[in-house]
Amino acid sequence: MTCITSTKHAAHRTSRAIPHHDSQKRGAAMSWRLVLPLAIAAVTFSGASGYAATPSSVQAKIRYCKDCHGLSAQGYRGYYPIPRLAGQQPQYLKNQLRAFINRSRPNPIMSNVAHVLRPGMIDAIASYFHRLHPPPIGGGPRGLVAAGRSIFENGVPQDDIAACAACHGPHATGRGEIPRLAGQLYHYVVKELSNFPRERGQNPAIHGPSFIMLPVAHSLNRHQIRAVAAFVSSLR
């Protein structure tokens, strides 16, 4: 706590010092470079240590998640596809929320959302959504399901593409930090696989399972991506 308070004070001191540098552009730029990380750290730590989550604040936050992710967290097709959280692996959900906070997974909306989560909330939210089991919302092209199943179960040996089932499990339920894909939105899976490096792999300093997916996603062509997405989105 002492350390956090001092970080906050440091940020305050530095930010107060900025106007003095206004006339010197370079100086101002330098001080911003110092202030920004400090300010971000201060906000992050104060958010994380300020006050713990109460049961009612966790309930309100879960209701807030459902505003976008659907009433039973089945996912929602807004202007952007908003992923299904229901049945998702808790460890994966926690990792993603942390990735939004440290911006290794760039998503302006979710960064802001994740930044204000109080300690205890992340665990509670992750285990809550894991327990939900609504049917998939569907909407993927049915004609591609069989081709998708084949890629999911056997991979594409001639293109060096591993079987998805090897890591995501025979029923695409995921395990630990590997996400559940079963019932995920077709358009969301297509979007993630089509832009995998941009969606998930921006910070090479942070190694995680996303980096295992990077070459796999890169090897899949558009048709294969659509087929796999159609298959997993149809699974219960």
Binding site: Y64, D67, R77, Y79, V113, V116
Partner: protein
């Protein structure tokens, strides 16, 4: 006497089905019945919102919810319940399609001083107050998609009323999540959002 009544009823039925089967075109009776209130080019006329450029699936769904008395704020009760009462599925579809095809103009009638605040709420939400970011569903230019309505350029007063009415418990059966999202908004946040959206093209 009884025979005359039956004849009148049959005649009325035939006329009303014929009217509802007419394609919705500028100048047609069905369209004129809408534009009396919604403005000659459907750009809205207080308190009736702009229909031009609205998503047709959204218009269709609203017509249905007026007819079923689900959208129950005072103006809906007073006007739209009757206007939508006898629309067939086909005529609702034709009207929705017609109005969706018209070019929308921005109302530009919000408070310019609130635009920056409204833009921030629209694009980022207010996560600390559990206010969702509108952009996720309504799109980067508030153009809407599918059954999700276009908000950009609607009039300040309509947007403000609509959000405040959800806040007050009207139209509670509207599709998830708007009744809940709007109930999280404070009056000054509603004013900021309505201002920002009224200037969007």
């Amino acid at each position: 006497m009884k025979f005359t009544k039956t004849k009148i009823a049959t005649f009325a039925f035939v006329i009303s089905s014929a009217v509802s089967l007419l394609p919705a075109q500028a100048g047609s009776l069905a369209v004129r019945n809408c534009t009396w209130c919604h403005g000659p080019s459907a750009q809205g006329y207080w308190p009736a919102p702009r229909l031009a450029g609205q998503r047709y699936r959204y218009i269709e769904r609203q017509l249905k919810s007026f007819a079923r008395h689900r959208r129950d704020n005072p103006f809906s009760r007073m006007y739209m319940w009757y206007a939508a009462a006898n629309l067939t599925h086909e005529s609702a579809h034709a009207l929705a399609f017609y109005f969706a095809s018209l070019h929308p103009k921005a109302a530009n009638d919000g408070n310019r001083d609130l635009v920056a605040k409204g833009r921030a709420i629209y694009q980022q939400g207010v996560p600390s107050d559990n206010v969702a970011a509108c952009v996720a569903c309504h799109g980067p230019r508030a153009q809407g998609i599918g059954g999700i309505p276009r908000l950009g350029g609607l009039s300040y007063s309509y947007l403000q009323d609509r959000l405040a009415q959800w806040h007050d418990g009207y139209d509670a059966a509207a599709l998830h999540p708007m009744p809940h999202v709007a109930s999280q908004l404070a009056p000054n946040q509603i004013a900021a959002l309505a201002s920002y959206l009224s200037f969007l093209k």
